[in-house]
């Protein structure tokens, strides 16, 4: 099994070092979140209602924009072929890449999300649920985004293409995650939303390796 652990180590170091690792993604989250209050002429107070939606938008975009290099680098330097000749099927390689990327970007983003939401005016009591929902939804974003990164392999302006092809697919986790946090903020029952969110992420966990591997093979052929 040392081959798989070596691959996991390789992907994690790659994701962590690649462009400052989590700093870049969290930096983007902060930038995206600070714009709406500055852009609103009714003063920051008026945006308390919008704190959660802004956070969710920034989280979705941050998850996507850090995915562009996930496969592109390996295609450029030729190691994508190497990864396909290894002991593990390509589906496993895609899943490991996605999970390694989540550890280096998705998890830190989930930690930053409650800070961002509360600073925008969301009730502090909702912070634990924001963290939980951001972790689960973040994994869903990363998995579906990984599929987008594989699809955009070798395409011009890959980052933009990932956003255009993947964002519509992120609507379900966005709706369920935002509903869960809104319910938690309003003291309501966040149960159903959370369950649906978990269901989506499990669905993405199943779909991404299959479709991702097919997309990588499409780019190799």
């Amino acid at each position: 099994m040392s081959a798989l652990t070596q691959l996991i180590r390789r992907e994690i170091t790659g994701a962590w070092q690649g462009g400052g690792g989590p700093l870049m993604a969290c930096g983007f989250l902060a930038c995206a979140a600070v714009l709406p209050p500055l852009a609103s002429d009714a003063g920051p107070g008026a945006l308390v209602e919008a704190a959660l939606p802004i956070t969710w938008l920034a989280l979705a975009l941050a998850s996507l924009l850090s995915l562009e290099r996930l496969f592109e680098r390996d295609l450029d330097d030729g190691s994508l072929d190497l990864l396909s000749l290894g002991p593990a099927p390509l589906e496993a390689v895609v899943l490991i890449k996605a999970l390694a990327h989540f550890l280096a970007n998705g998890a830190p983003l989930a930690l930053a999300a409650p800070v961002c939401a509360v600073s925008l005016g969301a009730p502090a009591g909702a912070a634990p649920m924001i963290l939980l929902a951001a972790l689960i939804a973040g994994l869903g974003f990363t998995l579906t985004g990984t599929l987008g990164a594989a699809l955009a392999l070798g395409a011009r302006r890959g980052g933009l293409l990932i956003a255009v092809t993947v964002l519509p697919l992120l609507i379900p986790p966005l709706i369920f995650g935002a509903a869960a946090t809104a319910q938690a903020a309003g003291g309501g029952d966040f149960g159903p939303a959370l369950i649906l969110l978990i269901a989506y992420t499990l669905f993405a966990l199943a779909l991404t390796p299959l479709a991702g591997a097919a997309a990588v093979r499409a780019a190799q052929g």
Binding site: L147, L151, A152, L153, G154, A155, R156, R157, G158, L161, V164, T165, V166, L167, P168, L169, I171, P172, I175, F176, A179, L196, Y200, F203, L207, A211, A214, A215, R217, A218, A219, G221
Partner: protein, 239 residues
């Protein structure tokens, strides 16, 4: 269905079919228009109900075209049929156009009825997301230079899109119930007044025939185009 996967047999089979489809679309469209403007006014919505006769078929065919695109992508990916990719490609533009028409006519209907150009009704929102799916699909095809590779990647996205459509639709409906606003555009539900059925069904058939005509003509064009491009490339290779 499998027999048609062979390009030559498909071209022979569809050669007589295409003019028929175009003729049917034209006749049905004229008939549908006639019915649409001879139907009585709706007691509630007055003449705006006539917008429904172009809105509902467009939304339906927008979705139908994506189903055609998704199923063709499945055959292109799993069975590697030469024609399947041409079929998926040929369904994309008409499908996107129908979906766009559904949005335009939807907002032209919403303005007189509810006073706003855009209504966050579950169905209209889903149609808008379907339009985003089309944009993503066409962006992917345009962004990859190597045609063969773009086709394979687009097939994966087409299939992933088809699988995700019901999930997106469910999440939007679920989101809509959260806000308890009754669905505003009820007209194409079971509550349609009998008097509108002939117009609506004829227009639906007209849009359906038009889509088939566009789709099959598009596939035939694609088959011809590839043969010519391949022949030119062979000639160039020999030079």
């Amino acid at each position: 269905m499998f027999g048609l996967a062979n390009p030559q047999r498909f071209m022979a089979f569809t050669r007589p079919l295409v003019p028929l489809l175009w003729a049917a679309a034209g006749v049905l469209l004229a008939l549908g228009a006639w019915f649409s403007f001879t139907a009585p006014e709706d007691y509630q919505q007055g003449d705006t109900v006539r917008i429904m006769f172009v809105h509902v078929p467009a939304a339906t065919l927008g979705l139908g075209a994506y189903a055609a695109l998704g199923v063709s992508s499945f055959f292109a990916l799993v069975f590697r049929h030469a024609l399947a990719d041409a079929a998926a490609r040929a369904a994309a533009l008409p499908g996107a156009a129908f979906t766009l028409l559904a949005l335009i006519t939807g907002s032209l209907w919403g303005k007189p009825m509810w006073g706003t150009w855009w209504v966050w009704d579950a169905r209209l929102t889903s149609v808008f997301i379907l339009f985003l799916f089309y944009l993503g699909y066409m962006a992917l095809r345009a962004a990859i230079d190597d045609e063969a590779r773009a086709a394979r990647s687009a097939a994966v996205l087409g299939l992933v899109g088809l699988i995700n459509l019901p999930i997106v639709r469910f999440s939007v409906d679920w989101w809509n119930t959260l806000h308890q606003r009754a669905s505003l555009i009820r007209a194409d539900g079971p509550s349609i007044d009998g008097a509108f059925l002939p117009a609506l069904l004829t227009m639906m058939a007209a849009y359906g025939a038009l889509f088939l005509a566009l789709w099959i003509t598009g596939i035939r064009t694609e088959v011809d185009r590839r043969r010519v491009v391949a022949a030119r490339a062979r000639a160039a290779a020999g030079a």
